[in-house]
Each structure stands twice: as C-alpha cells, then as structure tokens.
Amino acid sequence: MTATVDGAAPQRTPLYDTHLEFGARMVEFAGWSMPISFAGIIEEHQHTRSACSVFDVSHMGRLVLTGSGAGPLLNRVCTRNLSGAEPGRSFYSNICREDGGILDDVIVSRFEDSWGLVCNASNRDKIVAWLDRHRQGTDVTLRDETAATAMLAVQGPRAIDAAREVANQDFSTLKRYHFRSFEFMGLRIIVYRSGYTGEDGLEVVLPAGAVRMLLPRLLGTKDKPHAVVRPAGLGARDTLRLEAAMPLYGHELSEEVDSLTADLAWCVDLSKDFIGAEPMRQLAARGLPRRRVGLEVEGRRIARQHAAVYADGRAMGTVTSGTLSPTLDRSIAMAYVEAGVSAPGTALEVEIGSKRAAAKVVKLPFYKRPAGS
C-alpha cells in the first residue's frame, strides 16, 4: 500500500463507517479520511480529561522488523539507546538525518522475536524508505502492517476501568511504556500503556477485520452509547497534546530542527553512535542557539503556527502550535525562540493577525494530570 497521491481519494481506516454512524465531522489528514470531531472539540477534550475517550489512530504507520539485524538497525537510526531493551517495553524516540534534522518521532517496541515501530501517517513512506536503505546488507525484514491492523487510543482517568470491562483484564499493573500482547476471542491484541493526551491510557493494536466487532463493547452504539466512554476526534487530540506540551510532527518537529533544540534531549543518547549524533554532539558542546518554549498569550486570541515572536520589538522566534486551552481557559502556544529569551518569565510579543499580543515564556507542560490519577 502506498500513501495517497494528489487527487486520489483519501484512505479509510477500518472504523470509517463507525465514525459516520457516530456523526463525525470528517476531514482529510495525511492522506486519510479522519474524524476531526464528534460532539465538539472542547467537549471531547474535557471528557478525555475527566472520563475516557476513544480515538481512532489507525492512520498511523505500523511496521514490524524481524531478523538478527533488526535491533542493531533500530539502534543506529534511533536517537534513543535501545541496546538492552527488554521484551514488553516501548520507547519514544526520534529518527534523524545525518545532519540531525528530525525525520520522524516514533514509538519502538521490543517483542520476543521482533521489533515494532509506530510512525506518523505523513512520514510512513519516508520512514519505510529510510529503514529500507539502511537495512541493505543486513539480516532485517521489514513488514508494513498498517492496512492489516487498526489502532485505538483509549485515554482518560477511566480508561483502565473501561478496558477491564471489555477485555476482562487488569491493565493497572501494566507500567507506562510497557505493553502486553495476548489472544482475545482468537484475535491477537497488543495493549500499550501510552498515549498522546497527557492522561493515563492505553493504545491498542488489533486486526483490521475485528475492530468493528469489538468496538461496540468499548463504545456502545449510536443508539445505546456507553455510559462513560465516548468517541473523540483529531481536533481534541491536538488540543490535548498541546496542553501536555507533546510535540507534533509538522509543527514542533521537522527536518529543519534537531532533537536537542526540540527539547527532547531525554530521548537522545549522545554517548552511542546513531545517525545524526555528531552534529548534535557539536550543538550540545556549543550550546543551543534556539529552544522550544511554552507561551501564555494575553487575551483570548490564538497565536497560530508560523506567527512571529518578538522581544523588544525584534523578531526572535516563530510559533509552532497554539490554541485556547480548554483546561486552563487561556491562550497558549509553543514556539522556537532564541536562547537568550527562552527563560521562563521572559516577556515577549506574538503576532496575531495584524496585531501583536503580549506573551510570557512559561515552563512546559501547560497541563500535568493530578498525581495519583
């Protein structure tokens, strides 16, 4: 399967008909027809923070690598140190070009006899080509399982309870960034304790042909909806990840920025050899000229991607994402600014339409879920 070419109809996930049944507003995203919202972005956002939402994330790329060279290959292309990775563990990582520019941010999972890699839908072809190029001459087989599987994100403080009801399994003992692979009604299901919302939750991969049969157990039907679990779309996914300060490829992350500047040093091991390590070592030694920061913007207007950021009237950076935070009820944004004006508390201005609004650098994340929930 290849990505949609210009003019071709967008691809549909196995849940396309279910989205329509639940009244989704559909949009095209990275070549896929996806739900942007159901009940409304803010309502879905708040429901995820207080209860539990299900997001269809089947558009994301799911790759499987097998062979004796799979581990070494991944450790060479990933910024994260994967040597010694134990089966059952997942790792957030970046994959970078030789010059350190970020090709994608991915989740790598260590299975007993293989490795899994989840990448962004928009970068799937690029990552497949990159892995293909770097596996030459080694014992690595690459399989794309995107079309054969579906992927759901079950997110929110009630997610673990909801999943227990459906699968009759306790996932509360599954640690964050660990996963469990098991058979359910004869189907192979993988459940990860991870997500992209800042809440507790699970991400579930299951056979494409089974998801429409299993989903009503989690979500109910349009006429008989589940009491707690509701569908949510890409709109809420975006506002949720922004509050949690999680970077999004195409916004905070691109080939024009390296992992250190992106404030992702925690997933970079400069002591190992990987593609893009050398320029990042030099950058770390010299000091970062610009940094990813959080901004609180005065007023209720939203600073959009590409908006200029000013300090004392001089252009000092660019906004990557902004929204009106549903949880904090204030205008927030992430931006790249010059290091000299990146300290929390620094007063800046951001361009909004033809005007400029006062803004202040704040510590990320904007939202952290209450301890113990």
Binding site: R25, I36, G40, I41, G235, I302, T323, L324, G353
Partner: protein, 128 residues
C-alpha cells in the same frame, strides 16, 4: 440542514437579513460547524463605513481563524456585543443569537448577486 428562507447567503458563508435598508449579518450554521468551537469573534466599531466585499470582522475557533466579509456596503449601526463573552453562541445558534453586525446599507444592489436558501443549500452540497 434547516436554513431560514428570509435571508440571502454568500459564497463566503455569511447570511444577510435585509429589512428596508437595515441589514443584519452573521455566518451560517454550516460555517460555524466547519470552524468547530468558536473561541473569539472580532466585530467592527459602530459608525464605521465599509465597501462591498470588505473584511468586517474575524472569527476564530480552536481549529482556525477566518475572516467575515460584508457583501453589502454601509455603516455599522450595532454589533452583537454578547459574543465577546459568549462566542460559543455562534455555534449554538448561528442564525439568531449568533448574529454579528447590523448595517445601514448605502446600496442594496450587490444583494442581487447573493443566493437564496435553496441555492445556498445546493452550493454547500456541491462544495463537499
């Protein structure tokens, strides 16, 4: 989609209620739905004069920012100040509570280029 039949509609998704030379305008429910949750509405100053086709305001949602145009020239008589505190009213009731601007039109001639409810409905359907 239930569309009021007492108005005219533009291709940029504004509605116009024309009563004599007083014109009330807002954005259609379709436009409000497409924008998703509206978080901010910028409206013009009372007394300001606009030409046909001018940008008269801005509407912002969690997803996007979009300009509001006036197809009719005129002077602003009144604006819906309630939207400053309650921009969500545009989502809830775009055709009544979500009205935006009242103009005294200096010419009604451009109204002949606007669509009626039936034509606008077909226009939205074809745009999908």
């Amino acid at each position: 989609m239930a569309l009021p039949t007492d108005r005219k509609y533009s291709e940029t998704h504004e509605w116009y209620l024309i009563e004599g030379d007083v014109v009330t305008l807002g954005i259609t429910q379709h436009a409000a739905d497409e924008l998703t949750d509206i978080t901010f509405v910028e409206l013009p100053e009372v007394g300001k004069t606009y030409h046909a086709g001018d940008v008269i305001g801005e509407v912002e949602s969690v997803k996007a920012t979009s300009e509001i145009f006036t197809a009719l020239p005129g002077t602003v008589l009144d604006v819906n100040t309630a939207l400053a505190e309650h921009p969500e009213r545009v989502n809830e009731d775009a055709f009544e509570e979500g009205w935006m601007v009242k103009l005294r039109a200096s010419s009604l001639e451009p109204a002949s280029n606007l669509m009626d409810a039936k034509e606008y409905k077909a226009y939205v359907r074809n745009a999908r």
